[in-house]
Amino acid sequence: MLNNPYVPILFMLALGFAFAAGSVGASVLIGPKRYNKAKMLPYECGIQPTPRPEGGGRVPIKYYLTAMLFIIFDVESIFLFPFAVAFNKLGLFALVEMILFVATVFIAYAYVWRRGGLDWV
């Protein structure tokens, strides 16, 4: 386990976390603390904040579509990575298979584009 190549990444993680937690903690200790209510309000350009709706408000459904499309292309790229790495050994068959795969996913892409799913406004 100890000579697993991913262990040193934990070192970096630990160093980064120690630095982040240390400096945030230090600033909490060093910094002044003068309480007043106006400071604790959410920032809205110096005006009184608009009351938040019940449940904190909802975000546009547009983001759902973006996340879903992201997953689709993420999965596509996940298949492309091993294909690329092993390309030298896979031969023509894999190339043809990959073109079929990309073309099929492209159908989904074309459909979404045509229906206007990629228009942000």
Binding site: A20, S23, S27, P42, L118
Partner: protein
């Protein structure tokens, strides 16, 4: 150049890469030395951030014809240090609506994750460190490049959670926009790398650097390089893609409610992420720590070994940092919908098409599409490869031709000839002339003015005006 092209496109003279395993040799690296190297990288990053913030402010100052910070230390070099101390000693208010735990956790995620990716970047080749011969690279693995993408997606949580936990409107919108921006551009970034993996046959950073000893991948994968440079600006939320902050509309974006060192973590994270993507770009496309072509040949490659690598690597990385600053000083922000349209409708399909093209070219090179070949200047070129390249070029030209024609037709249809003379009151409302138009003084203007004055001024009160509801 033609020689380079020959190297890039010819049949590989060396045997094909045997494995995807890391090329760097870590066998003489005890655990404590790995930790020391991690510490070195960590300090290297912190020092770089100190310099780059000063550098950015000075260069942007220069672009805008003002001196920039020049008071503290020689040339104001210690300015960032002073900023850090100031951030440290600031009060850190947390809005009363904020979610206490996640509010702090988010900034810690941002401050921690930014360091991690640098662990797989090779800063130099084999060097002598405390009596051991070891690569100047914390670690390497067969999925190293993919790991940096994964880490970047974990880092996006720092932004999303910051917006959510602030309990305030602007940060929430800033965070949503920013994470949508990051995930949209991450796809194109990942796809752009596929071309490099096809050429290198590995996702290990040291192997990719080693495979570039003949020719840097910026030449055979030039389009990937362009896409990567664009997406790396989008990934780090930098100008002209700084929509996450969007000062005009969202105050400070996702970190509006953050102050003191909790904000400092985002500040630090942004710059370290810039270093990470720049380092990745130099590693994947510009030969990593290897000396530039001319210098590499001097004295049998004496500048291409050991600690020299750190110099070349740093120079290449700073080239991109300078590019970031240059962009910031030159370009205005683009609109969010334009940004998303560019990402989804151009970058992604173009990158996928490019990956397939590279796969075909490489396939032809490896003889998948037939074995017949000819040789020019001692190098063998497969016929199929030239065929593929020719086909792709023709296709690209055809698309460009159609596109230009369409644009021209559109411009033609939209052109509106302004008449040479204009009567400013023709529409009943005074309009100024367009450039080059001559104003016709209307003869009735005077009489009209008099008539208007002669009429009794009608005061409209609220009762009289029927107010149309605002829609």
């Amino acid at each position: 150049m033609s020689n380079l092209m020959a190297v890039a496109l010819g049949v590989p003279s060396v045997a094909l890469p045997a494995a995807e395993q890391p090329h760097a040799d870590f066998s003489d690296t005890p655990m404590w030395l790995t930790f020391v190297k991690a510490l070195i990288v960590f300090v290297y990053l912190l020092l770089s951030v100190l310099v780059v913030i000063w550098f950015e402010r000075r260069v942007v100052g220069r672009i805008q014809q003002r001196p920039g910070p020049n008071r503290f230390g020689p040339f104001g070099l210690l300015q960032t240090l002073a900023d850090g101390v100031k951030l440290m000693t600031k009060e850190d208010p947390r809005p009363s609506h904020a979610d206490k735990v996640v509010f702090t956790l988010a900034s810690l995620i941002a401050g921690t994750m930014c360091f991690v990716s640098f662990a797989v970047i090779p800063l130099a080749g084999q060097v002598n460190l405390f009596g051991h011969t070891t690569p100047l690279q914390v670690t390497d693995a067969s999925s190293a490049v993919l790991l940096t993408l994964a880490i970047a997606s974990v880092g996006a949580y720092g932004i999303l959670l910051a917006g959510w936990s602030s309990g305030s409107t602007y940060p929430l919108y800033g965070a949503l926009r920013s994470s949508a921006q990051i995930i949209s551009y991450e796809i194109a970034m990942g796809l752009a790398l596929v071309a490099v993996f096809i050429h290198a046959g590995s996702m290990s950073t040291s192997t990719i650097v080693y495979q570039q000893r003949d020719v840097w991948y910026v030449i055979p994968a030039f389009f990937s390089f362009i896409i990567y440079v664009i997406t790396m600006v989008g990934e780090t939320n930098r100008w002209p893609f700084a929509n996450a902050e969007g000062e005009g509309e969202l105050v400070g974006g996702f970190h509006t409610e953050y102050g003191s060192m909790r904000f400092g973590m985002y500040y630090l994270g942004e710059y370290i992420n810039m270093f990470t993507v720049s380092a990745m770009c130099s590693t994947l496309f510009l030969g990593g720590w290897q000396a530039p072509p001319g210098i590499a040949a001097i004295n049998d490659g004496m500048f291409n070994h050991g600690w020299w690598g750190l110099l070349w690597f740093t120079l290449k990385m700073w080239l991109f940092l300078w590019f970031f600053v240059w962009l910031r000083g030159t370009l205005p922000n683009i609109r969010y919908d334009q940004f998303m349209r560019f990402g989804w409708k151009f970058l992604i399909p173009a990158t996928i098409a490019w990956v397939l093209v590279v796969a075909f070219i490489r396939g032809a090179q490896l003889g998948y599409l037939g074995d017949s070949s000819f040789s020019i200047g001692g190098r063998r070129f497969p016929v199929a490869m030239l065929f593929v390249i020719g086909l792709v070029t023709l296709l690209a030209l055809a698309i460009a031709w159609v596109w230009v024609n369409r644009n021209q037709a559109k411009a033609e249809a939209n052109r509106f000839e302004h008449p040479a003379e204009i009567d400013p009151f023709a529409g009943g409302h005074p309009v100024p002339p367009m450039p080059g138009q001559r104003l016709v003084e209307p003869a009735r203007a005077t009489t009209r003015g008099v008539a208007a004055h002669a009429e009794p001024v009608v005061t409209t009160t609220r009762q009289e005006t029927k107010e149309a509801p605002r829609g």
